[in-house]
């Protein structure tokens, strides 16, 4: 009989105490920085410490840069928060991109058509409501099809993105300003009607307040409400949910309405609170990046804050080193890639242990 012990044996852990898990992650981050240092030095002969310093400069080098980082991180966080309930239900909503765009388009429409007639608070109220409605619509359509006919939600939400992108392109052409620029330009540039007002003198403070409120609210919703409990049960096993008398269809539709609403609201924050314009780059792939945010945080919205900041920090840092050291864009992307690889890879060592074959006794390799 075949009694050969395999060279590597992977076993699932029973669980790891939280502080050890974070030690593993910290170790992974340090290892990533070391590997990046080798890479940077080997290829460019630059001092890695200087490069890391430049990355920090890029993200937090000045008050303005810090606020830009905060602005971008909050929008990414907001989308991640929107995805959390859907993913917790094991509903693979990869349609955040489209839901954000639809929310953005709805906001832009309010700002453009009602910008002269209404006051800013009214514009914000109506713009916010419109963005929620648009996001809900984009989220609920695939949910209804899933609930009634068990269609594949991954494909469905993905394709809804392309419809949203085409609608956005159409609207950009319609609202083009000035003519021939192929862009909408800054909406209400003179009046600033419908823009987020500065709070405590900070232009992006309102973004932070709205998104943090959503983050806390979603955390409480998922953890402490009956709806949140139902989402967990449906995500784990539809059979159990039916057994417990939960209407699976209703939970799917309700949860996707919520997910779409928050993603739509992200579009509102992005348009009225940040760019004050609308284009396909209003979402700019963040609907997909947010999937990483949601998953790395295991749907814990507080951990998402950390992840969102990390990702935006890496992005800003990469841009900075690219321009400061005249590096190719790709070089900085490699740095980002290495860091993410190590951080995501460390989760493997948190979930599993690796045993190597040895003579006589088994050696255990702990990460």
């Amino acid at each position: 009989m075949n009694n050969h012990e395999p060279l590597i044996h992977i076993a699932k852990r029973d669980g790891m105490v939280w502080w050890r898990a974070w030690l593993v992650r910290l170790a992974a981050a340090i290892a990533a920085l070391l590997v990046c240092a080798l890479f940077i030095y080997g290829l460019t002969k630059l001092n890695p410490v200087k490069v890391y310093a430049a990355m920090w400069q890029g993200a937090f080098g000045s008050a303005r840069r810090s606020w830009i980082t905060v602005r971008d991180a909050t929008i990414l966080l907001c989308i991640g928060v929107g995805l959390a309930p859907a993913f917790m239900m094991r509903f693979w909503n990869v349609g955040a991109e489209g839901q954000v765009l639809m929310g953005g388009c709805a906001t832009a429409a309010v700002l453009i058509y009602a910008g002269r007639a209404l006051s800013t608070p009214m514009l914000l109220l109506i713009g916010g409501a419109a963005s929620i409605a648009a996001g809900v619509l984009w989220g609920v359509i695939p949910a209804i099809f899933k609930a009634r006919w068990n269609t594949n939600e991954t494909l469905f939400t993905l394709m809804m993105n392309y419809i949203a992108i085409q609608i956005t392109c159409f609207l950009v052409a319609k609202w083009e300003n000035p003519k021939g620029s192929n862009s909408v330009g800054i909406i209400n540039q003179q009046t600033q009607a419908g823009w987020f007002p500065a709070i405590f003198g900070q232009q992006y403070m309102m973004n932070v307040i709205i998104v943090l409120a959503l983050t806390v609210g979603m955390y409480l919703y998922l953890k402490y409400t009956k709806h949140g409990y139902e989402i967990s049960v449906v995500g784990e096993s539809e059979n159990t949910a039916r057994y417990a008398g939960i209407s699976v269809k209703r939970v799917i539709i309700r949860t996707m309405a919520l997910s779409g609403a928050v993603c739509g609201l992200s579009g509102f924050v992005a348009v009225a609170g940040a760019s004050h314009t609308i284009s396909t780059s209003t979402a700019g792939g963040r609907g997909f990046t947010a999937i990483i945010v949601a998953w790395m945080a295991k749907f814990n919205t507080f951990v998402m804050i950390l992840i969102a900041f990390l990702l935006v920090f890496l992005e800003k840092g990469a841009i900075q080193i690219a321009s400061q050291f005249k590096l190719n864009d790709y070089a900085s992307e490699v740095v980002t890639g290495i860091i993410l690889f190590f951080l995501l890879g460390s989760e493997f060592f948190i979930q599993y242990t690796v045993h190597f074959r040895s003579h006589g006794h088994k050696k255990e390799v702990q990460a």
Binding site: T225, K226, V233, S237, N239, T240, R242, Y243, A244
Partner: protein
């Protein structure tokens, strides 16, 4: 001299972990005969055949094909030896045609010569009396067509020894007749066939010889011509074992559930439960016996509101006895049943996939049925927390804490958590499906005691079981299901094991009304 036996399996042993699925099993199949492999669930029939078809590898023992000792390490080896198995669950690709499925996995280029395949398929069909359309997609096929395709597939690959795993379970009586006709044709053509079954009438109708297994052991074989249903049942179920399970006389049993004309069809339109009429009394344990897949699951799920029923079906719930008010359960879902005040507890067969949420903690699972109570939008964790602590203490659940996910508990402890939760709702009807499956003796007795306690409290207990010894010593009455039909209700105190076994396997012509 030509070898008499197509297959000989000698002293075959196979263990899975602690369980001996086969222990020194012996089987011989003569050339050109149809052999029935008979046994209850879990008697090791399918395990034995999986070793012949290369899916499992025996721990001990020898296999001889045509008198030559062989090693069958993979399905490919089996196929080279001319052994083909048709599994209970078909292994076909839905979106491909019949011809493509037949061709799949065979050596050859990327291009399928449809004409050649079609010609050969038609040849096989004409020879044995099958009808298969080579260009039909599998998803357009009925269950019986799929089965035919599976058989043709094995023949196409040159099988001389065919194994059919419970082929009639999915067929109508007419389709079964057709299948038997082609089986006879194949036999007359020199093929050797093993049919796994637990239906006695089919054993007698189709096979030349029968081999009986019980609890993984070889019991014996005999020529079908000399066998009768009684003798085979005795071999199949064995002697009664005394278990000393406590059984009190029911105190003032009152009719609590009236099941009338209950019929269930599955998604494919196959009748799973056929016009069942049964009464369930408060203060008694009603056992449900039957070969697995004879409608037990459908019966319980239909009562619980989890199974769509055919119109005309009725389950009336009478909380205060036969003359009191009645609540119709058919047509309601579990939630509305609960909201009507029907305290219906249900321990389903699939504990972690239906009764519990595997990744949730004990506390989280306690909430499953009561989280809705109260007007607050927030869940109350205080009560489930106390409840979990109480169940852990009273039922001696072994767990690191009540905040441990239930999937990390052992099977017995999982079941204690589930039964404990269901009993904590102070039910008026308690339904359990295979409540002691996989549990050790001590835990099993804990469960029996819990059920008896509920019976004393005046709960109507339904116990779906597979171990006849337990059924006969725990239950007051035993309703036997056979092929989705109620095949008699026996008195648990006077019935014999053979009687129950006989009702499980041989459908009676006169269908008795229950509780009459």
């Amino acid at each position: 001299m030509a070898e008499e036996f197509a297959v000989r399996m000698v002293d075959i042993t196979k263990t899975f972990g602690q369980v001996k699925a086969n222990h020194k099993v012996y089987l011989e199949l003569k050339k050109g005969e149809i052999l029935s492999l008979l046994g209850e669930n879990g008697s090791g029939k399918t395990t034995l055949m999986n070793m012949l078809s290369g899916i499992y590898f025996p721990d001990e023992g020898q296999i001889y094909i045509d008198g030559r000792e062989v090693t069958i390490a993979s399905p490919h080896d089996a196929y080279k030896l001319g052994i083909g198995m048709v599994h209970q669950h078909f292994k076909l690709v839905d979106v491909l045609t019949a011809a493509e499925n037949i061709e799949l996995g065979l050596p050859g280029g990327a291009v399928v010569d449809r004409k050649a395949v079609g010609r050969k398929v038609r040849e096989i069909c004409d020879r044995y009396g099958f009808s298969v359309d080579p260009d039909k997609k599998v998803y357009d096929m009925s269950v019986s067509e799929k089965q035919t395709l599976e058989i043709v597939k094995t023949l196409y690959r040159g099988a001389n020894i065919l194994i059919l795993d419970e082929p009639t379970a999915v067929l109508t009586p007419q389709e079964t007749e057709k299948l038997f006709a082609v089986m006879r044709n194949m036999r007359n053509d020199g093929k050797s066939i093993i049919i796994i079954t637990h239906k006695l009438n089919e054993v007698l109708a189709i096979s030349d010889r029968v081999t009986v297994l019980r609890k993984g052991e070889y019991i014996g074989d005999m020529d079908t011509a000399k066998a009768d249903a009684r003798a085979l049942t005795d071999m199949m179920v064995g002697r009664t074992v005394t278990l000393n399970i406590q059984r009190d006389e029911p105190v003032q049993p009152q009719r609590r559930l009236e099941i009338r004309n209950l019929t269930v069809k599955d998604a494919e339109g196959v009748v799973r439960l056929d016009d069942v009429n049964l009464d369930v009394y408060a203060g008694e344990i009603l056992g449900i016996a039957g070969i697995s897949g004879c409608g037990q699951k459908e019966l319980l799920e239909a009562i619980a509101g989890l199974q769509p029923t055919v119109s005309g079906s009725s389950v009336k719930y009478r909380p205060t006895g036969p003359d009191g008010p009645a609540e119709e359960l058919v047509g309601q879902d579990p939630r509305s049943i609960a909201e009507k005040g029907v305290r219906l507890a249900f321990v389903p067969e699939d504990r972690l996939g239906m009764g519990l949420v595997a990744s949730m903690t004990l506390v989280g699972n306690m909430m499953l049925k009561e989280y809705r109570s109260g007007k607050s939008p927030l869940v109350d964790r205080k009560h489930p927390h106390d409840m979990a602590q109480q169940i852990v203490q009273e039922l001696e659940v072994v767990t690191p804490s009540i905040d441990t996910p239930v999937r990390k508990l052992s099977g017995g402890n999982v079941q204690k958590v589930l039964v404990g939760r269901e009993i904590a709702m102070t039910p008026s009807v308690l339904m359990t499906a295979y409540a002691v499956r996989g549990l050790d003796i001590n835990t099993s007795y804990t469960i029996y005691n819990l059920l008896n306690e509920q019976k004393r409290r005046g709960v109507a207990v339904i116990y779906v079981g597979e171990d006849l010894d337990v059924l006969l010593q725990l239950c007051d009455r035993i309703a036997v299901l056979c092929g989705g039909r109620l095949n008699g209700v026996l008195d648990g105190r006077t019935a014999t094991k053979e009687e129950v076994g006989y009702h499980m396997t041989a459908l009676q012509n006169d269908r008795k009304e229950a509780g009459a």
